[in-house]
Every structure is written in C-alpha cells, then in structure tokens.
C-alpha cells in the first residue's frame, strides 16, 4: 500500500517529530498553530523528497532546514504578525546540536513507553485498544464484549489511535493533547 516514499518518510522523518515539535513550540507559542505548522513542514518535506532524484543524505538536518525556511518565509511575508510568533529570526537558527538528542530506546524501553501511552488513554479508549490490539479480537467481538455499537467502538479506536500516535512519536504537549481530547469528546458516533 505504501510507496517507497511513504516508507522513507515514516522511517527517516517521523522519528524526529518530538524534536521538531520542541523546535516549533520555541518559535510559536500558540499550541493550536503548532500542529498546523508541523503539517506544513511535513508537506514541504514530502513534496521536496518526491521531486528529488535521491533522498536527502541527512534527513534530520533536512527536516530542520525546511522548518526554519518555512518559518522565515512566513515571518518575512508578514503573514504572521501576532505576538504568538517570535519575531527574532535568529531564534530560528537553532543548531541541530541545540535540540536534545533523541535517545535510542531499547525495545524494552519502547514497550514501557507504549504501556504508559496506553494507560494515558481514557477508560473506554483503553479498553477498546486493549481488546483490539492486544487480545486481537475482531471489531465485532470487541464491540460485543464491551456492549457497545461498532460505530462507537470505531470512534474510541480513532481517539485512542491518535493519542497513542502522539505518545509514540513523543511529540504531544499538554495543551495540545488536552485540546485534542476535549475536541473529540464531543463527537457523535460515525456510521
């Protein structure tokens, strides 16, 4: 299903999401905008890699250069004038070394992080994720076990997946996480 570009993106760019988010938060204090910024950075990276002959040699450096250029462009074009964004262009020139290096987690530590992420979910999300992903029940079986409609189960799964993704990438900040959860709690079930 995934093209080679997708796999490259998942293998070489996404692992740096935590560092990217730390950088974006330094530059922009509005949590709502940080996620949009991240999306724009990813779009630039993806398009650029798609057009290039070869993949970038140093993906992390490429990622941060792209983020820096994006921010600089936006500030220079005056699209961002609110006090939320730093006007200090020098602050954008964060050296790679400045950002704390990601630790290479052992498989065991990664499992621990997954368990923590799982425990961070709401009750219903946690139950649903457990039955589907750990016990391996089918969607129907899990819905029956928990006494909920499949559509509801899907909703919980979606919420759980998004929260787990943020934990897995180590990228969510408190504000962003809370907003995400709060916004989704108002959802009605989907058919």
């Amino acid at each position: 299903m995934n093209s080679e570009l997708d796999e490259w993106f998942a293998a070489e760019i996404l692992p740096h999401e935590a560092a990217l988010m730390r950088y974006l938060r330094r530059v922009c204090s509005n949590p709502a905008d940080v996620l949009d910024l991240r999306q724009d950075v990813y779009i630039r990276i993806y398009e650029s890699a798609a057009q290039a002959q070869k993949r970038p040699q140093l993906p992390k450096a490429f990622l941060f250069a792209t983020a820096r250029n994006l921010m600089t462009d936006r500030i220079r074009r005056g699209r961002i004038v609110s006090i939320d964004y730093t006007q200090d262009l020098d602050a954008l020139n964060v050296l790679i070394d400045d950002v704390s290096p990601e630790q290479r987690l052992s498989a065991r530590q990664e499992l621990g992080r997954l368990a923590e992420a799982l425990d961070g979910l709401s009750d219903s999300c946690r139950d649903v994720i457990w039955l589907r992903r750990v016990e391996g029940l089918s969607q129907r079986e899990a819905a029956q076990r928990l006494g909920m409609l499949e559509g509801t189960l899907e909703s919980h799964l979606c919420r759980g997946l998004r929260a787990l993704a943020n934990a897995v990438y180590g990228s969510v900040g408190e504000d962003e996480g809370r907003r995400s959860a709060r916004g989704s709690e108002n959802e009605t079930e989907h058919g």
């Binding site: 293998a11 990664e110 139950d127």
Partner: protein
Amino acid sequence: MRPSTDSEAIEQEAARWVVRRDSGTWTDAHQVQLDAWLGQHIAHRIAYVRLEAAWEQCARMRALGAGVPEGVIPPRASWGSHCFRRVPPETHPPPACADSSHKSETPGTATPSDVPRARARRLAGTRFLALAATVLAFAVGLYVLNAGLFAGTRYATPVGGIANLPLADGSRVTLNTDTSVRVAFTDRERRIRLERGEAFFEVAKDRTRPFVVYVGEKRVIAVGTKFSVRRDDDDIQVVVTEGRVNVAAAATSPPHERGGAGAWTQGGGRDASESTGTGLSSSPSTYLSAGAVARTSKAEVLVRPGATLEAEKLLSWRNGYVVFDDTALADAVAEFNRYNRRKIFIEDPSIAAIHIGGNFRSDNADAFLWLLQGGFPITVEQTEDRVVLKGR
C-alpha cells in the same frame, strides 16, 4: 485564536481510515474511496502514513498481554517496572510479562499456571524482540541498525561484504556486497524492503503470511521458495531457483490484504489456474518459476523462463564468485566494482567492448587484472585509490 481545524480534521479522518482498514469489513469500494481521499492532498497522505505507522507499532503492545487471562483488561499501572527492565538471572523467574530473553510461556508468580492462552495470543511484540536478538550466522562486516519504532530492523553490508541471516520465521536471507534491507514482520505479512544491492531469500512456508520483498516500486511475493532480488537504481532483477514468486507493482493494494487471508492473486480469490509465467507479461503481475530470470525496468517485466544455467551464474556471488560469459569488459568492470572499494576505470573506450569470460573470486581483483593484462591488449595502471585500464 485561530482554531487548528485543518490538521486536526485531517488527522481525525486519517484515523478513521486506518481503523476501518483493519476492521475486517474492508472492501474494494473502500479501497477506492481511500485512494481518492489520499490523492486529494498530500496532507491526507502524510497524516495517514503517520497514523498507520503508529498503528503498526501498537501491535507490539501484545507483549503486554503475556500471562493475562483472556477477557481480563489489566488496570492501569499494573505492569510493574520489572516488565521493562532487564531481570538479573539470579532472581526468581520473571513475572508474566514479555521480555526478549524469556520468550517461554512461564506464567510466573502473577497468574495461575493453568490459564489457557487465547488463540490469538501470538505475541507480535515478542517476535519483534526475538528478531532483534537473533543470533547471526557468519557475516563479514554486517551492520544491524534498529530504526526503532518505524520501519523494522535494517541490515546492511559494506562494499565487499556478505552476510547470511536467519529470520524469526525460519527463512534465511543472504546479503551481497553493498546491500541494505529492512525487515519488518507483521501479522499479515513478512515484509522485507530491499533498499539497495542484492539479496537471496530462502523462504520458510507460512501460508498465513506471505513473504513480500518490496524493491523500488515493485513487490516480489513468495511462499516457500528460493529467489534473489537485485536492484540497480530503477532496474530490478529477480532470479528464482526453487518454487515460484509473483512480481507485481507495489502501488496497488496487495491482494492478500483484501478480503480474507490467503487471497493471493490480483483477483482477490485463491486462483487455482495460475499461469506458468512465461514470456513477456503485460498484466500487472507476473509469475516466475524455478529457473526463471526476470528483469524489470519501470513498467516492463522481461522474463526468461528455464534459464537455469544463467540463474546459477547470477547467483554465484553466494559462493564468493562472479562469473563472466562473453561479457563486455565495461560490464565486467562495473560488476567487479560492486565488490571492491578500489574502483577500476576504463580510460580507452576502444577496449570497453572487449568480451571476456571466466570465474573470478569477487574479492580477488588482482587475479582479474592479471588476466586482463596477460590475455588482452590492455595495460593496467594501479594507484593507491584506483585502477585505470588503457589500450595497448
């Protein structure tokens, strides 16, 4: 304050797609809808890839289910830090929680020992850990790089290296010079990506999980076979020595992911009347049987069936040999250069078309050069970092 509905809405939609795809009720119509949504905007595709990778990672949580009775959802924080720390061997047997060095089913002290294990309790997490801890057979300069969360484990050989790896399912992979592969086994698929170079696969039978080698924009699908895949930029070569493989484009949804397990062919059903895969194929997928050599470049697949002798020559690298048979010097030099850091250059175009033959040890460039100098109108100039061939 501008609400960030765009990226959030996109992520929400992507989550729905990832979850739905795994729900067991996926149809071709769904696939069409998903492809359409992905095609609408790169942001859609990125959000989807991101969440799908995370979803795959969640499968590793199965390790947390070790020893937990079916139907019981453990309360929060009931894992115990011992699950995630190495347990010294002198202490009592570890509690029920997957650990790479304790793959056995000892329930430990936490649960009764006669609890039956749920049928779906294949510990994907344990398998992943086991793969990471696999003992490697002989290897010359093998690098193992665990990409951590995302794309499985990467194995690579340097120029002139060769390595033979056992995989967790009993398959074996032999990596040739300057090769890089990623191995990521999931519940549905035993997935290998050939990033560069050449590898030979001996695939163990597992009818529940196809063995798929992703190379460039192609997939080579196998069950119980032996075959090699070689990549030179966009050109791909597949040689089958035993059994059969299917070479298809990677861009379409893999047939085995549609409908139930065991669906192999493009049509989505078990196909009893598989073709023997001879001749030039214009269909999206091509079957290759033992003795077949296939070369693909972009969309075209050129198959030579029954080319057993050629197949043997193309695989002689496994024994450390390169075999030339009426081979143009330029090609022979290019082949030798794959195995050696000190590259050979042809300065005189006039000698590039000289044809040579013979078996050479890939790591013995000297013998090769000696032959050239002795048997042909070629002079060999050697410096510390390169070799230059000129006409005499």
